[in-house]
């Protein structure tokens, strides 16, 4: 390992600053609002990828069902926006005015009880984080206390993604079904569809993402972060050091899920709808791909990976749609086989050691010496 940990810490700071510069300054200056809105959408996936860095990269828990939490967050947000868009005058033509259009089509004559609280924005915002976190807690507690892990955990989360998709599609009177919750318009009277609003939402999304990265950074830099790494490498030893490993896993899984959920909520705000196609197996695995490509150990890498893969997807599908799946599959295999540390690993392991000045540029800080 060429770079020491202190090197990689200062590297991470530099990377963090570069990312902030890129998404807050460079991209808004370079791109028109249409493309920028696209970037905003990609960044919502980066929330999931950052969460995956925590729970997969550092703790070794591979969840193939992060779409579930992304979706729950997105649906909570969309529920509020949809209720606001379904005011009585907007929905005069319905047989029951004042309820969302899809409920009317499904012969619901009043708002289901679990929709009612979503009329309140504070409730909706809390629910965005709380609902997925509670779901993750229940799942995590059941699994990690019983020491389910590895492939088993991956497959079970995948099956859950499948269950939730079937439920959302099947209970369309309550969920909007396969079409999802569409035509979201305003947030407390503020039209979220205008270019202006899209700019503002984009920056809100950036701020939140950077905030979440800082939070993740804080967690990873704390002793808890080291316990997570320790758990990944030697779970038994952590247990024999007196830690309740399951609690730490539950914590990080809930945290990652809450992050995914915030991403989902920002997605609903920026894209203007939410549908089950972001809940299922395929999007869940794609989000793992973003994280893997960027580097599963690196927060900055995860964001870059998300941007690169999505940018590639847009580019490829515009120019060579036939080749897209080949490229995506090939990229994925290449990353797993040749660069398991992803783009971030390429930078720290390959690029940096070759820069002649690097070693003089940062100096290793020794860990604290004992006070005499």
């Amino acid at each position: 390992m060429a770079a020491t940990r202190t090197d990689s810490r200062s590297l991470e700071l530099i990377g963090f600053a570069l990312i902030a510069l890129l998404i807050m300054v460079v991209l808004p200056l370079m791109l028109d609002i249409f493309r920028l809105n696209l970037v905003g959408k990609y960044l919502t996936y980066a929330f999931v990828a950052v969460g995956l860095v925590l729970c997969w990269g550092h703790t070794g828990i591979l969840s193939l069902g992060q779409g579930v939490f992304f979706g729950l967050g997105g649906y909570c947000m969309a529920a509020f926006l949809k209720l606001e868009a379904s005011s009585v005058e907007n929905t005069r033509i319905q047989s029951t005015p004042g309820i969302p259009d899809f409920m009317d089509w499904n012969q619901l004559t009043e708002l289901p009880f679990f929709w009612v609280p979503f009329k309140s924005l504070p409730f909706a915002l809390i629910a965005v984080v709380a609902v997925p976190a509670i779901a993750a807690f229940i799942l995590g507690a059941a699994m990690f206390k019983r020491r389910v892990g590895g492939v088993y955990f991956a497959i079970i989360t995948q099956a859950l993604a499948s269950v939730l998709t079937i439920l959302i599609i099947g209970r369309q009177g309550y969920t909007g079904g396969i079409n999802g919750i569409t035509d979201l318009r305003t947030l407390l009277g503020w039209d979220i569809r205008t270019d202006n609003a899209k700019y503002i939402l984009y920056f809100v999304c950036c701020f939140l993402l950077l905030g979440i990265m800082l939070l993740a950074r804080f967690v990873l830099a704390s002793k808890l972060g080291r316990i997570l790494v320790a758990t990944r490498d030697q779970e038994d030893r952590v247990r024999f050091s007196g830690y309740d490993v399951a609690n730490f896993k539950i914590f990080v899984f809930c945290l990652a899920s809450a992050m995914a959920a915030i991403g989902g909520a920002m997605f609903a705000l920026q894209v203007g709808f939410m549908s089950p196609s972001f809940v299922g197996i395929v999007p869940s695995i794609e989000m793992v791909i973003f994280c893997a490509v960027g580097g599963r150990h690196s927060l900055v890498g995860a964001v870059v990976g998300t941007l690169v893969v999505n940018w590639g997807k847009t580019l490829f599908s515009e120019s060579f749609p036939e080749l897209w799946l080949f490229a995506m599959g090939g990229l994925f295999i290449a990353v797993v086989l040749a660069f398991p540390r992803g783009l971030a690993g390429l930078v720290t392991d390959q690029l940096i050691p070759r820069l002649p000045h690097w070693r003089g540029w940062t100096h290793r800080q020794p860990s604290p010496a004992p006070a005499e």
Binding site: M1, R5, V219, S222, K223, L224, R226, I227, V229, A230, D233, Q234, D236, R237, V238, R239, F240, S241, G242, Y243, D244, V245, N247, F248, F251, R364, P366, S367, P368, A369, P370, A371
Partner: protein, 248 residues
């Protein structure tokens, strides 16, 4: 069932079976405070399984294990650790992606809850304690190295250090000198003799020379049962032991 006991650790009538095979069969074992006990026995005698049973990694099928006269069967590993039992594994089990300092810091018996770990502060006394222990296990000059870069012997020492910093009343070591060079063995023996002063230690070992250099009492296991017990000399002269273990 089991009676009250003055022993630090008491295993009474302990059995465990894996799919019909009795790996440990009606075992009785008593460890005194301050005692260093070496468990020897041929491969498959159930040595490691005994340690697994004590520290809760494997559930006993029947029998009782008491630590400080407190039943510990059925408790979780981390609870047993918190009662004061430390365990070293056969192969060095350390956190390779962390530095020596961090390895030791994590093993310090404080900030073990999620919240405690999240808001953990490296107080001066923590730093001091870590350096102290690092010096004890001959790693004073290596605290900032990634554990992965240590030699095999150093890794074994680090793991012992990680146990020491927990300050357990009972320390269980599974082949602590496996894979060590001659000089490392000598140092390890010295280390063990030093750290057993204020605690009880159970060691599993194959290396007879090493055993002789440290042992107070030796227990010989065979087919999940105690075959012989006593000081090294007595055990070595026991014909039963010679037959199953030392004889060839």
């Amino acid at each position: 069932m089991a009676s009250d006991t003055d022993f630090l650790l008491a295993l009474e009538n302990v059995s465990v079976s894996f799919d019909g095979f009795k790996a440990v069969n009606g075992l009785n074992l008593y460890i005194d405070t301050g005692e260093l006990r070496v468990i020897i026995g041929p491969n498959g005698a159930g040595k490691t399984t005994v340690l697994d049973l004590i520290c809760g990694r494997t559930r006993v099928s029947e029998g009782s294990i008491k630590f400080k006269n407190q039943e510990i069967t059925g408790r979780k590993e981390q609870e047993i650790v918190r009662l004061g039992i430390g365990r070293k594994f056969q192969t060095p089990t350390i956190y390779e992606d962390l530095t020596v300092f961090e390895n030791l810091e994590l093993s310090l018996p404080r900030g073990r809850s999620v919240v405690g770990a999240l808001f953990w502060k490296r107080a001066d006394e923590v730093i001091q304690r870590v350096h102290e222990i690092a010096a004890t296990v001959f790693l004073a000059d290596h605290v900032d190295r990634l554990a992965a870069t240590l030699s095999h012997g150093q890794k074994q020492w680090l793991e012992i250090g990680m146990l020491l910093i927990q300050d357990p009343e009972l320390l269980m070591l599974d082949e602590p000198v496996a894979g060590m060079s001659v000089s490392e063995r000598a140092k390890t023996a010295e280390l063990l003799n030093q750290i057993i002063k204020n605690r009880s230690v159970v060691v599993i070992e194959h290396d007879m020379k090493f055993v002789e250099s440290i042992a107070h009492r030796v227990t010989v296991l065979h087919q999940g049962k105690v075959l012989a017990e006593g000081n090294m000399q007595r055990v070595q002269s026991d014909p039963k032991v010679k037959e199953v273990y030392l004889g060839h």
